[in-house]
Symmetry: C3
């Protein structure tokens, strides 16, 4: 693997899941692989889980880690070709990406969508520029439209907890007070389509995800119908793709409650965290025995470790 920006960089997603499970069973088996190798983590946006899990993953492989909080350091980057830089931007992405590549063997980068300009967000303008000018492998720590490390960890969690060969997995929209990216649901659909599961999406009308990801996946607008027989309920808020970046609904009847979970096949509850309690999901569900959110967070480490291992082995 020469980069990790989406599932498209992974020739064998199932194989990668198995590799992550093997690393979970023996986290220090490859602790010499990363010797004298440095992972640079570049954050253009805040992060807790991704920051810590990726750092731990790198350390398990014996890598050194350097963290660069470009958002906090007020380092403003220029992304336009030909720009006359006499304004507030201090450095062009061309130099920034090439320079960081001098100090790191692998670079992880987190970017966010504008939620204003759909075209720029969906061509992954910022991540794409970074990849274009970096000279070492780049690892997405979440981009404008995808969050592949999260999806890999989610698949891992489903693999560990499934009770039948082909479980039913329901991705359900849930309300949230702020406009959020579509990265997690896009990426979840992209990965889980490749997994041995029956995938169903449910959301209010107007919240259709980009067809690029959902083609072939059934959408059920009636959440209750969608939940029937589900083995896994993956809740997540996202803002509208069609009416780009907008909040079309805050309908609390979409919150995942015990009553909703009673429709499922004793289904497990999943969420990528951070989660708004009693907005996305009721306390009873999140604190109940079928909640897998902490296991998902734990699996972030082994997802990142499997990916880093492959990038180091390339």
């Amino acid at each position: 693997m020469k980069q990790f920006l989406s599932i498209n960089d992974v020739p064998d997603p199932s194989g990668l899941v198995q590799e992550a499970l093997a690393l979970k069973a023996d986290p220090f088996a490859f602790s010499h692989l990363g010797k004298h190798k440095t992972l640079g983590l570049v954050f253009l946006n805040p992060s807790l889980r991704t920051r810590m899990s990726t750092q731990r993953a790198a350390q398990n492989l014996g890598m050194d880690v350097m963290v660069l909080n470009m958002d906090k350091d007020g380092w403003q980057l220029e992304f336009e070709d030909g720009a006359i830089m006499n304004g507030s931007s201090q450095e062009h992405i061309k130099e920034a990406a090439a320079v960081i590549s001098q100090y790191c063997d692998v670079i992880g980068i987190r970017t966010f969508p504008s939620l204003q300009n759909r075209e720029e967000d969906y061509i992954e303008k910022i991540l794409g520029s970074f990849v274009k000018y970096a000279t070492v492998p780049v690892l997405s720590l979440e981009s404008a439209t995808l969050h592949p490390l999260q999806s890999l960890a989610d698949w891992l969690t489903i693999e560990e907890h499934k009770k039948r060969e082909v479980p039913k997995v329901v991705l359900s929209w849930a309300p949230h007070p702020r406009a959020l990216p579509q990265a997690v649901p896009n990426s979840f659909v992209q990965w889980l389509k490749a997994a041995p599961v029956e995938l169903v999406i449910t959301h209010p009308e107007g919240y259709e995800l980009s067809n690029e990801f959902t083609v072939g996946v059934p959408v059920e607008y009636d959440q209750n119908k969608a939940l029937v027989g589900a083995d896994f309920v993956y809740a997540k808020n996202w803002s509208s793709y069609n009416d780009y970046g907008k909040i079309l609904s805050t309908d609390s009847s979409w919150m995942i409650t015990e009553k909703k979970m009673a429709l499922t096949n004793q289904g497990a509850f999943m969420h990528c965290l951070p989660v708004r309690r009693n907005v996305i999901v009721a306390d009873q569900v999140l604190d109940g025995p079928n909640s897998l959110v902490i296991q998902q967070a734990e699996n972030r480490t082994y997802a990142a470790q499997a990916v880093l291992k492959r990038l180091l082995e390339k």
Copy 2:
């Protein structure tokens, strides 16, 4: 030891002091103990000495360290049970503490008091929630009401520099322009009561510390009287406990000067730092040969190292 929140977690405070002194004599004797172990340092408030000394202590033991500045990253936590999180809080302490526990073998956390709500501060609401939901040992890097790593380092310093079996130690209030926590004096009293010293507290009326800590320790309202014959003078400002969080006095006659020190038994001057020069203490005292403030700072490393060693050995 399964946690370190106060002296109450330490069955043998004197033994821990001896262990710290042994580590100071041979800092890398246990440099394999922390192999493949990660210390997470979570700061809800800024820190210089604690941040660096604890990091150094962990590295001396061979641990990896991850630092999370939650205060700077604008990650707002919810602490109320049952909260409907549709406001500014992004994540509940239940998830945050459990998730961070997935990536760390030991977690150090720094919190601060509100100085508004005494009850919440003194039940250690924030630290307590963190400990409740964390699944790995927690180490206090200073909490709302206590600073046990500082007190252990202070005891260490007194042990190294005492000239008689049972030295007289005077904890003296001193003026300061801002309202400060009672954590350092509370904790100092709690630890030094267990040490082979004669402990006396002196402060203006109204500055009584919580009886929970001071019971059995003489309080002398006349600073000059208190200082007579002192072997160690530990200066510190704190805000009022009774009139909670208030500044009742900025009386500069309480500043520690050479004249004050002349009353002592050629006493040593101590302060946890940072210190306001010529407000808390006069330059002549701080720069004089009997000032131990830098030695106290140095001992922070070995205090933290002894505690981490025990947490790793548990």
Copy 3:
């Protein structure tokens, strides 16, 4: 070497250049030299290249690294002797430098000029206070008036790319929208005067650097004349030294363009980065085959590594 604040701390600058080149050829040859040693990086101002390259250099030598962002943490230092600290300063440099020295074996520090008070800037008041009170070797990560790690990396880059024994090197002022320090040009002149090169400085009138550095180096006010026959063109903006800290010109005819470079001896283009594209230098030059800016950035690692090696060996 017991410190590294300027070329004056280096008995054999050419030897240090050769040592850096040797480390570049075999970066991990001394990976045990830094075992159990900690480098503290203290930033009073933001940094990308210096932060990452110095960290990488330390890790190549096997050192642990601790980073302290004093600018971000709002830790306000007092530098005046005898100050009554009842204002906003929380800690005196006397304690801060002595305390940080307890936790580190070498300290790197970045400070910036005020660009208001020339005398204070040019006596290096802040760095000087830090060095005075630190008890371990101090490494400048750029100070008010000098940037020696950058200059060493620049010399290294010229050494690697020169096509004749004594190349002509032109330091050229270029326009910029903000008032910048004189640290890079001062330091470049100070180092390159000691190198086997023909050094020429060109800038508009009023931009004369301090005579302390430029004595003996020809200044040519006609940029075109200066560039004739140049093997290396080092562009950099700085604010006025005489009319201290002021922007006297933003004349875009000083921008380095292909037309300007055509005057040179197929000269290479150099800049310390970050660089304002199409303000300091035209895209065509920066993106052209003779641009060495990324190589300069790469060489920052080996410059820092050579210096750290000497500080550890002292």
